[in-house]
């Protein structure tokens, strides 16, 4: 696989590395933040263990405002913030920051939905033995919803891979950037499709790992 006489394989490999780094870092930072935000949304919901209408309403509206912003616009919109936090305006790090932020909000809804589906009886059982609210969140709510949460995070991984393809907008690198630069813009369909194949393999692998983990946790 060449373009104008250069071997593209090493470049593709480097792009794959960048994508994996972006996705992993985003998933770690955004996923944890989203777990916290989603759990907060769930527990502050009226009628739940830490019911607080004020906090819930503010968070709920905030999530609804941030989530629908198209990522490509979000990257540029928060560039000044990205620069002051990461010290970079372009490159891989500069794209991880906005991705992580968007992921926090996206994840929060996935987490909240999975927790809402929990049987309230298991929480009542924990209250009945005298467990504190904080303990219930950590020792009952999250473990009881772990299986669906893992599937939610697998879904999220795929969404982040998709999102990372837009990193090219700020010279972030990665597979998406590579496909656009060497495939699409140079009319080299082979490069485009090989890159797509690599992305498919990555996504497929992630899905298999996620399903396997969820099955172990759910013991099915």
């Amino acid at each position: 696989m060449t373009s104008n006489g250069t071997d593209l394989w090493p470049l593709l490999l480097a792009a794959l590395g960048e994508t994996l780094w972006m996705v992993t870092a985003t998933l770690a930072a955004g996923g944890l933040g989203g777990l916290a935000l989603g759990t907060l949304l769930y527990v502050t919901r009226p009628g739940n263990v830490l019911a607080n209408r004020g906090v819930f309403s503010v968070l709920n509206v905030l999530v609804n405002i941030v989530r629908p912003i198209p990522f490509i616009i979000f990257i540029t919109a928060i560039l000044p913030l990205t620069h002051s936090v990461t010290g970079a305006s372009f490159g891989t790090e500069a794209v991880i920051f906005p991705m992580a932020i968007i992921t926090v909000f996206g994840t929060s809804r996935i987490v909240e939905q999975n927790l809402v589906a929990l049987d309230p009886g298991v929480i009542e059982a924990a209250r009945a033995v005298g467990a504190s609210r904080i303990r219930i969140v950590g020792s009952i709510i999250i473990p009881e919803a772990l299986g669906p949460l893992i599937l939610g995070y697998t879904f999220l991984f795929v969404a982040i891979v998709d999102m990372s393809a837009m990193a090219g907008a700020v010279a972030g690198g990665g597979l998406g950037d590579f496909a656009l630069q060497y495939g699409y813009q140079r009319f080299n369909h082979v490069v485009t499709w090989v890159t797509v194949a690599v992305i498919v393999i990555v996504v497929q692998g992630a899905q298999m790992v996620g399903n396997g983990l969820a099955r172990r946790v759910l013991r099915r």
């Binding site: 049987d119 009886g121 298991v122 009542e124 059982a125 924990a126 209250r127 009945a128 033995v129 005298g130 467990a131 504190s132 303990r135 020792s139 009952i140 473990p143 009881e144 772990l146 946790v217 013991r219």
Partner: protein, 364 residues
């Protein structure tokens, strides 16, 4: 040292409903003694679940006072309430086990909350699983157990911290009859061997009559009958109580049954209540001494608190005056109901058995 385990005084709990506020528990007062098995029976919506959740402070009353083992839960802080809950076991209709934890993990959780060190926790869990007969299931997960086994895990979990009071909210309603019997026997053992006071919430009379010493009949958030289980069920004062007896016993012929009996049996048809009253001649002997021929055509007798209760429907043949005399004799000690030529209930003055009414004083 008080002899009262649970004391509710003028307790009211109101929930917001779609058609305005609902008074789930409405000015209810009740005392439950230490060491007894107390039944609370009522149809859904009578306020049973709210009542039991007021006792372990999962719900707090809007007015009135709840005192458990000498400690008021009404003005307690969240921390004190959590403390109080560790001394009250709770078992649920749907078991509410944690699927992410093993059987041992479920039973050990309350001990973890109570801050027990690991070694003591493991010993206690083994002891509890042994007590409920699940020693071999410690490492299994709830999904691998049958309904009866799940409930026994729920019971072991509720007993973990050696509570003096155990609340059972429809604990057998999700179980088949045989498993129900096993679980009821286990509850009885907990009461007799461990001396734990048990409050049983149910809509099944069979549970109350098998297990309980005293019963409160709940309707519209109020206690409408209260007393010794046999007294309440043998001389019911309220329709709701009679309905419970009817569903458990099926001893009284319904109008269409009476109509069929009427067609088959030309004689007079009379239903006589059977109660356990000392020093009373057997029914058959009473008929014989009056020279009346009686044959059983319908009925049923069951045990309530180990004493017989039910009714028998007879076809009576013989001289009309003699039949009237025997009915007069019987009505002095039982409720009797005669049916006319079309199978409709006949009105007839019925003497009230002694003791009825005295019980009502306990009801507030």
């Amino acid at each position: 040292m008080t002899t009262t385990m649970v004391s509710l005084r003028d307790v009211t709990k109101v929930f917001p409903g779609k058609q305005g506020p609902v008074r789930a528990v409405d000015g209810l007062s009740l005392d439950i003694a230490k060491g007894e098995v107390f039944g609370v029976i009522g149809y859904s919506g009578a306020g049973k679940s709210t009542l039991v959740r007021l006792i372990n402070a999962l719900e707090l009353p809007d007015s009135g006072d709840v005192v458990v083992d000498g400690r008021s839960l009404t003005r307690a802080s969240e921390r004190e309430l959590r403390q109080a809950r560790t001394g009250i076991g709770f078992i649920f209709q749907q078991f509410n086990l944690w699927r992410s934890r093993t059987v041992a993990g479920n039973v050990g959780y309350p001990l973890r909350v109570a801050g027990w060190p690991r070694r003591r926790r493991e010993e206690r869990v083994a002891e509890l699983l042994d007590f409920v007969g699940l020693a071999d299931k410690a490492r299994q997960y709830p999904d691998q157990l049958s309904g009866g086994q799940k409930q026994r895990v729920g019971i072991a979990r509720a007993l973990a911290t050696s509570p003096a009071l155990l609340l059972a909210d429809e604990a057998t309603s999700a179980l088949d009859p045989e498993t129900t019997r096993d679980v009821l026997d286990l509850l009885r053992r907990i009461n007799t061997e461990l001396g734990v006071t048990i409050v049983v919430i149910t809509h099944e009379m069979s549970v109350v009559s098998y297990l309980c010493d005293r019963v409160a009949v709940l309707e519209g958030g109020k206690v409408v009958e209260l007393g010794d289980v046999y007294d309440v069920f043998s001389t019911p004062q309220r329709d709701v109580t009679r309905r419970f007896i009817g569903t458990a016993l099926h001893d009284r012929p319904s109008p269409d049954v009476v109509a069929r009996l009427r067609r088959r049996h030309p004689g007079r048809i009379v239903t006589v209540t059977v109660r356990d009253v000392e020093g009373q001649a057997p029914l058959t002997e009473t008929f014989r001494t009056h020279g009346v021929d009686a044959s059983v055509v319908y009925g049923g007798i069951t045990e309530v608190n180990s004493r017989p209760l039910g009714s028998l429907t007879f076809e009576l043949a013989g001289d009309a005056d003699r039949i009237d005399a025997v009915l007069d004799d019987l009505s002095a000690r039982s409720d009797i109901q005669e049916y006319d030529g079309d199978g409709r209930p006949l009105r007839r003055p019925v003497a009230s058995p002694a003791g009825v009414g005295a019980r009502q004083e306990g009801v507030r």
